[in-house]
């Protein structure tokens, strides 16, 4: 059973071919119907076409089954499409089997005719459902009006959404062509460069000549010139009202990072540079590669980017309790290095306020049992380094019990087991 599952998992990527594969049985079905209408005595052609139809329908249905699990679309639609598709493949198999009935007028032959009609019907239903899955529910121009309630649901900006109302039919909640929704701030932000209409994709598309490949809308009536002009004016004036509120969007710019780096003396670098990676907005801020650049004002200088700091490394700097206690709060701080600095128990209050901490290095500080005890509330800790501190082994045991997820490191500065020979 597990090996069958392994085979299915291995074949799953082939499922994406389903939308392409479905066209083979449909074409073969059309050919078979034409044979029945105009070449009824072509027995061999009938059988070949019928079997090709059955096999291609089975392959398409199989691919569809694999594909269905990965799409994440509405369950009911998928459910019905799955079974009409399988039904079509089943009926096509019946067509193929009955295609051996060669004598006209027999019951077998009538059954063949009925099966052919049934397979055409099943193909129609399954094809329609498949189309809806790919392109969204059927929409006819003219049935949907501009003041339709769904079209401008959470439009951020009255002007833009009114001008672009006709775009929303395809780039809206229903169809999302090019994965673009022009009825949301996020979608608009992708195609609008505030202050520069000429650089804005939405303006470029609607201003293009009709015969251009990229012109929008691709068919039908172009936007009226006065609407295009109003759109350009709105964008050039700064696209007022278009603000994107996203948790992941960095509120810093490369210029701000450079400025913070210059005023604080730190190295300030994003954790990643892929735009869709949440780590791309998080920062590592490090002083250990240039400890001499650290002074008591350095931490305050980080305030403009404090919300994004994930790693803060103060190893071997002139940090002390007073400086750290005056530092801003870093809500996303996951990794803190304060090893071999002059801090002690007083700093623990500041440290323990950072709930997101996963890695804390206190090696070579003067933290004692009293300070370590207050670290027990940092339940996210995965690593705590207490080597060469004044924390006793009894307190370490208590911490290990309080923080079962954390690996706590204490000193082992001599060989734990005497090596067997010439060491």
């Amino acid at each position: 059973m597990t090996s069958l599952q392994a085979w299915i998992d291995a074949a799953r990527p082939a499922g994406v071919l389903h939308p392409a594969l479905v066209h083979a049985p449909i074409g073969l079905l059309v050919a078979l119907v034409l044979v029945e209408l105009f070449a009824r005595d072509a027995t061999r052609v009938r059988r070949v076409l019928a079997w090709a139809l059955a096999l291609s329908a089975l392959v398409a249905a199989g691919a569809g089954w694999l594909h269905a699990d990965g799409t994440g679309v509405d369950d009911a639609t998928i459910f019905w499409h799955r079974w009409t598709g399988v039904g079509f493949a089943g009926v096509a198999l019946v067509v193929a089997l009955l295609s051996f009935a060669s004598t006209p007028g027999t019951a077998w032959r009538r059954g063949y005719g009925l099966a052919l009609v049934a397979s055409a019907a099943a193909a129609g239903v399954a094809g329609h459902q498949g189309g809806e899955l790919v392109h969204g529910p059927l929409v006819f121009d003219g049935w949907t009006t501009d003041d339709d309630e769904t079209s401008v649901a959470d439009a951020p900006q009255h002007a833009a959404s009114t001008w672009l109302a006709s775009c929303v039919r395809c780039h809206g909640p229903d169809r999302r062509e090019a994965d673009l929704r022009l009825d949301t701030s996020e979608g608009l932000a992708r195609v609008v460069v505030p202050g520069a209409a000429v650089d804005s994709e939405v303006y470029r598309r609607v201003a293009l000549p009709r015969d251009h490949d990229d012109a929008m809308p691709p068919t039908g009536t172009p936007l009226p010139p006065e609407t295009v002009a109003a759109l350009a004016a709105w964008i050039d004036a700064g696209a007022a009202g278009l603000t994107v509120a996203s948790d992941d969007a960095p509120s810093w710019t490369p210029e701000l990072l450079a400025e913070v780096a210059a005023t604080s003396g730190a190295l300030v670098v994003p954790l990643a540079d892929a735009p869709d990676d949440p780590d791309a907005s998080r920062l590592r801020v490090e002083f250990h590669t240039r400890p001499d650049a650290f002074d008591p004002t350095s931490l305050a200088a980080l305030a403009p980017v404090a919300a994004h700091v994930a790693t803060l490394n103060l190893r071997t700097t002139a940090l002390d309790d007073a400086t750290l206690l005056a530092a801003p709060h870093f809500p996303q701080l996951e990794r803190l290095h304060v090893e071999r600095t002059a801090i002690g128990d007083a700093s623990v209050d500041w440290i323990a306020r950072h709930d997101a901490l996963r890695h804390l290095n206190l090696h070579g500080t003067s933290v004692t049992d009293a300070g370590a005890r207050r670290l027990a509330r940092l339940t996210s800790l995965e690593r705590l380094v207490l080597h060469d501190t004044d924390v006793g082994l009894a307190e370490v045991s208590r911490l290990r019990a309080a923080l079962p997820r954390a690996r706590i490191t204490v000193g082992e500065a001599s060989w734990p087991t005497k090596p067997t020979d010439d060491g």
């Binding site: 201003a207 990229d214 954790l271 990643a272 590669t289 890695h359 000193g411 082992e412 067997t420 060491g423």
Partner: protein, 472 residues
């Protein structure tokens, strides 16, 4: 309002297709113009920048085992060698591949006992008694294969992913991809214990990458860097010279080679204070010095202990890539074509305690989970003898190990056959190792490219698979 026929972009898709019809060269031109989108924009000065994804490791320490240690005498025990000791390998193993010296002797059992070590029960031979205490940190790769059976080409391949001289060393690729976090020290430091690998300093070269990224060779004892002491009569003269040089070459990126040379001068000037601070071990405790064996009576241990301690100090200072070469131990590197017992024992004695100390010390200081440690040579050795008591080169299967950041410790990946001759499971190419090292440091080996000679070239060429099986 602009003319409706004005296309806001210079070249429409239709235009491009029309012009492209006479030759697909235009598509290539488009790709060239879009250059940086395919690789990373080259940096001359090597300032820090983010990787492709979040890094598990900040620094890499490569413990290069010059000459090719024997897998069946270190981490890959093969009891069948004991049973068939002294027999003809062609009878026992079957067909053999050509060896370098074509002097195939009999099956040679390991002279060393293997013991299970740590909670993981990893097999480690008596060559590495100290290393047993950190066995649970090691991820042993027993399915390594090399593409070359000879030192020079194999060393180029191990270091640069290419069997010929002239490609960038892996340390240079890390610097190119991530920049250097420490402006006072080079991003790629080679701590030279005394042996220079066959293939020479080209093993540490920048190839076609900007010269800033080349490996800087430091000596562990005495003056670490040649000519590091300023020769100018007055303080400040050197600064003024560099300023003049900077003004002469104003404007940016006029010639990348000149930019890189100036950047190297600037780094060298800052190194004049950073290097003495680095190599002054006065602030290390007696316990730490004893741990590493810095004052050992064995000269090899003494040198390699210093190298390992310096490696830790370089990691603390944010240096990206550190390679350690082996010390002279009185006779040959790990290349025991004869005299296996004495040769391997002396080479192992030099590195065993320092390496164990390095892992232990990095761990207790909380640095091991941001440092990737890689151990190994350019190939392994034959399970049968060369002559009476040597082992010849064997690229078909050998051992390297990883430890530290993001690596699953206390595990073995890959397997050789019952004689330790050929890799038969978890076969790992050097390209796979490189891909995994880059991955742990936040770089995607398929996207880290540099355009040279008309191609976007990678450290892993067109190969390489990240070994997700060994990642924690």
């Amino acid at each position: 309002m602009s003319d409706a026929h004005d296309t806001p972009r210079g070249c429409s898709r239709r235009d491009l297709l029309t012009r492209g019809a006479t030759g697909f060269g235009l598509f290539a031109l488009q790709a060239l113009l879009a250059g940086p989108a395919f690789g990373r924009a080259p940096t001359q000065t090597g300032g820090p920048r983010p990787g492709h994804h979040r890094a598990r490791a900040r620094s890499v320490i490569f413990l290069y085992m010059d000459g090719g240690p024997s897998q069946v005498d270190t981490f890959d025990p093969k009891p069948l060698l004991q049973r068939h000791h002294g027999e003809d390998p062609r009878q026992v193993i079957g067909r053999l591949d050509d060896t370098q010296f074509d002097d195939v002797g009999t099956i040679l059992a390991s002279p060393w006992e293997f013991r299970r070590s740590g909670e993981s029960g990893l097999w480690i031979s008596d060559l590495f008694p100290h290393l047993r205490s950190v066995a649970d940190e090691l991820c042993v790769l027993n399915g390594m294969v090399a593409r070359f059976p000879e030192h020079t080409a194999a060393n180029y391949f191990l270091h640069s992913g290419h069997g010929l001289q002239g490609r960038p060393s892996m340390g240079a690729w890390f610097g190119y991809g991530l920049g250097s976090d420490n402006e006072n020290l080079p991003g790629f430091v080679v701590l030279n214990g005394g042996l220079v690998p066959p293939g020479g300093l080209d093993c540490f070269g920048p190839g076609f990458l900007p010269a800033t990224h080349q490996g800087s060779v430091f000596r562990p004892e005495g003056l670490a860097v040649t000519n590091i002491e300023p020769r100018e009569m007055r303080d400040g003269d050197q600064r003024r010279l560099l300023d003049v040089l900077g003004r002469l070459e104003s404007g940016d990126g006029v010639d990348p080679a000149v930019d890189a040379a100036i950047a190297n001068y600037e780094t060298a000037a800052r190194m004049q204070t950073a290097v003495p601070d680095l190599t002054d071990l006065g602030d290390e405790s007696a316990a730490t010095r004893a741990l590493y064996g810095v004052d050992s009576e064995n000269a090899g241990t003494r040198i390699y202990g210093r190298q390992c301690l310096l490696a830790r100090r370089l990691v603390e200072r944010g240096v990206r890539f550190i390679e350690l070469t082996c010390p002279h131990v009185g006779h040959d590197r790990w290349d025991q074509h004869s005299n296996l017992t004495k040769g391997h024992e002396d080479n192992a004695r030099a590195v065993d305690q320092p390496i164990a100390a390095l892992l232990l010390d990095l761990r207790q200081r909380g640095l091991l989970d941001e440092t990737l440690v890689v151990w190994g040579g350019e190939f392994g050795r034959t399970p049968f003898a060369q002559g009476a008591h040597g082992r010849d080169h064997n690229p078909q299967g050998y051992t390297m190990w990883l430890a530290g950041a993001g690596v699953r410790g206390g595990t073995v990946y890959g397997r050789t056959d019952d004689f330790g001759y050929r890799a038969i499971e978890g076969r790992t190419e050097v390209h796979d190792l490189h891909a995994t090292m880059l991955h742990l440091c936040g770089l995607d080996h398929e996207r880290l490219t540099y355009r040279f000679g008309g191609r976007d070239i990678r450290l892993t060429d067109v190969f390489g698979r990240v070994l997700h099986e060994v990642l924690a």
